[in-house]
Assembly symmetry: C2
Homo-oligomer: 262 residues x 2
């Protein structure tokens, strides 16, 4: 009977103090933290977020695993083979492994592929996911933009894979979040301009970190190759929230307006 | 010059240890915690989540505010007038107020309306939002269901306001999250059955709490009036993730399959 657990632990959007109490407790307790890298030469953002809260843990292994930034399965295969071998060896010895991801482990994260394979490779191993603050809510928090209220709807699209139907989506949804806008920002700006939506959008990169950048004039980014950790939020001006379009004064004509109690 | 801040603080989906370090630090530091209630007779879930982490803070005020569960602006208006008066009095005395919400403060929360009004009522007051783990990611974590990977898209709909176009939405999106399914569960089950999607859905209520309930056979809930804090997640079987549909063995014919390294 193997009592090891494979944890998928989200460390949140960037600020170390946006980690949850549970993620800190688990990362301090496990014998192995698995840390994905984009390349051997670029530090792990997830680990930079977690490290100030975890510090040194005597005897704990930090297992760095490199996954190239590519959609090509041929290039990803050797990296995953190595990762499965390294993680598997430890789990089979009964050592729990916590695989960290920035943001939440189930939202466009490296952990998702590991999760899918793990259930087949290690059927006896317990799997536990520690949800985290996702950029889905951290980015709107930065700009004080409500995501949805009342009958409003939210759509989340990875911009890398096309924004051609953005106008259609905006007809059906009140807030649209475009993830991974980094390399396709010129296309995103063009699509928003075509639909006369550029004024309704804002751009945020590296939200909640010391390098956070917020841009309201998206046209200024037209020619930029933006940061990978960036997002565009498009929110309709006419909201459909519980009280929207029905101001207090309008809802009760003749009575004091809502501002009368100030 | 007034240095008071109005905080919108999310306390996460239900488990106290899914609060962030920042939310705990702010709630321990502010002179006033504002706590929304659905009724004077029902304890605040948000406060039940926060209290174990905050404990007693000498001199700190816990300001309970009741907002009836209704979509009727006539019934909400007196509650909001009272809330604005109570919060405003404290802010004007220079006291920072942290308004707590379960989940994230910008996702279908009572705080959104307060945010909208606050910028007009108290233009000199700083507003800060502390994002939190939302049920959007906490519920999929419970059932180990990826939300989106690669080119996949996510749609979030409040079921209370209709699920008639669920089939359309599922044609365009890979994962659909139905919030607030409590009172409309029979309609949701009927819509999923009509579209032959009932097998692809699961139901979770009070995720991450001691009363968590997970149901995979949604038909068994056909006649239930379910809990308010419940959600249905519908995920397509055929995923569009980065490596989906392109198994390692298929991607590199003739070479070792991905499972060969086990």
């Amino acid at each position: 009977m193997n009592h090891a657990t494979l944890y998928g632990v989200g460390v949140g959007p960037g600020a170390p103090d946006l980690m949850t109490l549970r993620s800190v407790a688990i990362l301090k307790a496990v014998p192995v933290i698995a840390i994905p890298l984009r390349s051997e030469y670029v530090p792990s953002l997830a680990w930079e977020i977690a490290r100030p809260n975890i510090g040194d843990v005597p005897g704990q292994e930090r297992l760095f695993l490199t996954f190239p930034m590519t959609k090509d399965p041929e290039r990803l295969r050797p990296a995953w083979d190595e990762a499965f071998a390294q993680i598997g060896t430890r789990l089979e010895r009964g050592l729990s492994v916590a695989f960290i991801t920035e943001g939440d482990p189930l939202v466009y994260s490296t952990f998702i592929y590991l999760l899918g394979e793990s259930r087949q490779r290690w059927p006896e191993i317990k799997i536990e996911i520690v949800p985290a603050v996702s950029s889905i809510t951290a980015v709107p928090a930065v700009t004080l933009t409500p995501l949805a209220d009342g009958q409003e709807r939210i759509a989340i699209l990875p911009a890398t894979y096309g924004v051609d139907d953005l106008a259609d989506v905006l007809r059906q949804f009140d807030t649209v979040i475009l993830m991974k806008v980094g390399s396709v920002m010129p296309t995103v700006v063009a699509a928003l301009e075509r639909e006369d939506l550029v004024e309704r959008a804002f751009y945020v990169s590296k939200a909640t970190t010391g390098q956070q950048r917020v841009v309201h004039d998206l046209r200024s980014l037209r020619n930029d190759r933006c940061d990978y950790f960036s997002m565009v939020v498009v929110a309709k001006q006419d909201r459909n929230g519980v009280l929207a379009g029905r101001q207090f004064a309008a809802a009760a004509p003749g009575s004091d307006s809502g501002s009368g109690s100030e």
